[in-house]
């Protein structure tokens, strides 16, 4: 894999606005890292027992019952903007 990274597209997907200077530097840095991955990408590997839990264990899901956690006020206490007990955000569309 030696595809050139499209830094503007990746930044858009990641929702991070980059300056021109950052774009140039990150494109160079990320290309170097991705080149380093070539040996791994080219390896023949069996499918194996892929698991998200490093010990291969199932997730230990909690009982589906209500319990006391944060109050409404506590949940909103760090919000940059809130009103009437809700988070306030700019409109989704212009």
């Amino acid at each position: 894999m030696t595809d050139k990274i499209n830094i503007q597209n990746v930044a858009k997907l990641a929702a991070i606005k980059l300056t021109n200077e950052e774009e140039q530097k990150l494109e160079k840095d990320l290309s170097m890292i991705i080149d380093h991955f070539a040996a791994l990408s080219d390896m023949e590997l069996p499918d194996g027992n892929i698991s998200i839990h490093p010990l291969g264990l199932p997730l230990n899901l909690a009982e589906d019952t209500a319990f006391k956690f944060l109050s409404h006020e506590e949940a909103l206490s760090n919000a940059p903007e809130s009103k009437d007990g809700q988070f306030v955000v700019p409109p989704s569309l212009d």
Binding site: I5, V10, A15, P54, L55, A62, P90, D94
Partner: protein, 484 residues
């Protein structure tokens, strides 16, 4: 008289015998902070005034013979990515400069129940991404052994404050070596438990399949005490696990494997010599030393730097200027998010989010992230196979002694190589400990790393304690003065 380098059990004995009060130790630790913080910058915040009443409460419990346990009155520092209710959790990021946690992490609530005191929150590489603490938005931490050198990272602040004596112990988090590497650089003990044995609830997530909270201490006995006080399944962390009975490695006449691939290119002569020195000491105690090969460990850096950034790109998507953290205004929600994340994240965090986003994007997923998952499964298989023949594995903790500020910041791959020896334990989920064993030719601390199979944490700690006794490393930074 100084008490800040005594073991927790010794301090507890002094408390019980009324030879020392928790409030006196608390004052002593803050006096150390007053004389060392201007040099090392290990703490981001100090809780001295808020917690002195808690220290006096602890005095009363000991006076009445009603102490809550061996950790009652022990001042511990907490990495600033672990939530303590009512206190800031900045993750050393501008993004969270104004965040006050409304809840306790599970490890904090468990320690509070035992009367543990907290000295404050410690510095880290932003969102725990780094190996030198140079990536903190609030300035780097310096190494107490030589302030021109890095303390390691990401838990550099937690390691430096224990080394300097401004906390009796600390908590760090370890995603690819972030407890063990700074512990090694600062000449203290760092322990990463088996994945899932300690709840991650309340730890700000970096890479959820790799992150684990653990202690940084002056000795192995303290690490064991703190680990056993925090461990246990937690309904608030779905990945936490019940204690499992598995065959335990031997502690007498054990077989120990030196990992061949972690003694080759990229490892300094000093670090190799340290492993051979410790191996000889172990042999003299009746243990058998063999060389083992784990070929996939050569791919550790690539596997880790695909999986960790992929998980980080998902975990850090929560910092969008909506529910918490800072916000930069925009005319639409997307513009607000883009601007907020541009202003809030530092360059290393942006780089890893973008790398993870790329590795997970359409057309590249199978070649990168999918391939890394397959390689991780193969690594697990290789380690499982090797543990059929040996009880423990040994390697250097770090490829070299602590490096100078700026020495690796222009060469990202060289910086990433700092974690070469520590990453496999996170990828496989096994416990691993770093134990200081000697000094390099520069007079700086060197450590060895011991690893064992998953769920053998206490046996690994017992074995490490016996190794610590035969090594009897007693050097301390010159700012401490006398040896331990």
């Amino acid at each position: 008289m100084t008490n800040y380098k005594l073991s927790i059990s010794k301090i507890n004995e002094l408390f019980k015998n009324k030879d020392l009060k928790p409030s006196e130790l608390y004052d002593e630790v803050f006096e150390r902070a007053a004389s060392t913080e201007s040099i090392i910058h290990g703490h981001l915040t100090l809780f001295q005034d808020e917690n002195i009443k808690k220290a006096i409460d602890s005095d009363k419990r000991y006076a009445d013979g009603e102490e809550l346990g061996v950790l009652d009155g022990i001042p511990i520092a907490i990495k600033d990515n672990i939530n303590i209710s009512g206190h800031a959790t900045t993750c050393s990021s501008k993004m969270l400069s104004n965040y006050i946690s409304p809840y306790d992490a599970t490890v904090i609530s468990r320690l509070k129940k035992q009367g543990t005191l907290f000295t404050g929150k410690t510095n880290l590489d932003e969102f725990a991404m780094g190996s030198s603490t140079e990536n903190s938005a609030y300035g780097p931490t310096k190494n107490p052994w030589d302030p021109s050198r890095v303390p390691g990272g990401s838990s550099g602040g937690s390691a430096a404050v224990v080394s300097a004596g401004s906390a009796i112990a600390s908590l760090g988090s370890d995603t690819g070596g972030s407890i063990r590497q700074p512990a090694s650089f600062c000449g203290v003990v760092g322990f990463k438990p088996t994945y899932g044995t300690v709840s991650r609830y309340g730890l700000v997530a970096f890479a959820s399949s790799l992150d684990q909270i653990g202690p940084i201490t002056n000795n192995v006995e303290d690490a064991k005490l703190i680990f056993n006080s925090m461990k246990g399944q937690d309904p608030l962390d779905a990945t936490s696990i019940k204690e499992t009975n598995v065959p335990q490695p031997k502690t007498e006449n054990a077989k120990i494997g030196i990992i061949k691939e972690l003694m080759e290119d990229g490892i300094s002569e000093d670090a190799k010599l340290e492993v051979h020195k410790v191996a000889k000491l172990l042999e003299s105690q009746g243990h058998e030393i063999v060389e083992v090969s784990l070929p996939i460990t050569k791919m550790s850096i690539s596997i880790y730097y695909l999986i960790a950034p992929a998980e980080c790109s998902a975990n850090l998507s929560r910092f969008d200027g909506v529910r918490y953290g800072n916000r930069i205004s925009g005319s639409t929600s997307y513009e607000m998010m883009e601007a907020t994340r541009a202003a809030g994240f530092g360059s290393e965090v942006k780089k890893r989010i973008l790398l993870g986003t790329y590795a997970l994007s359409a057309g590249y997923y199978d070649a990168y992230y999918g391939q890394a998952l397959k390689a991780r499964a193969m690594m697990k298989k290789e380690f499982t196979s090797v543990y059929k023949d040996v009880d423990y594995l040994i390697s250097p903790t770090t490829p070299s002694d602590p490096f100078k500020f700026g020495e690796k910041s222009d060469n990202q791959l060289e910086m990433y190589m700092s974690d070469l020896c520590t990453i496999p334990a996170n990828l496989v989920g096994m416990p691993a400990i770093s134990i200081p064993t000697g000094l390099s030719s520069n007079g700086l601390p060197l450590s060895v790393q011991i690893m064992s199979p998953a769920n053998t944490d206490n046996t690994l700690l017992d074995f490490s304690q016996s190794l610590e006794e035969i090594v009897s490393f007693s050097e301390v930074p010159s700012m401490i003065g006398d040896k331990k």
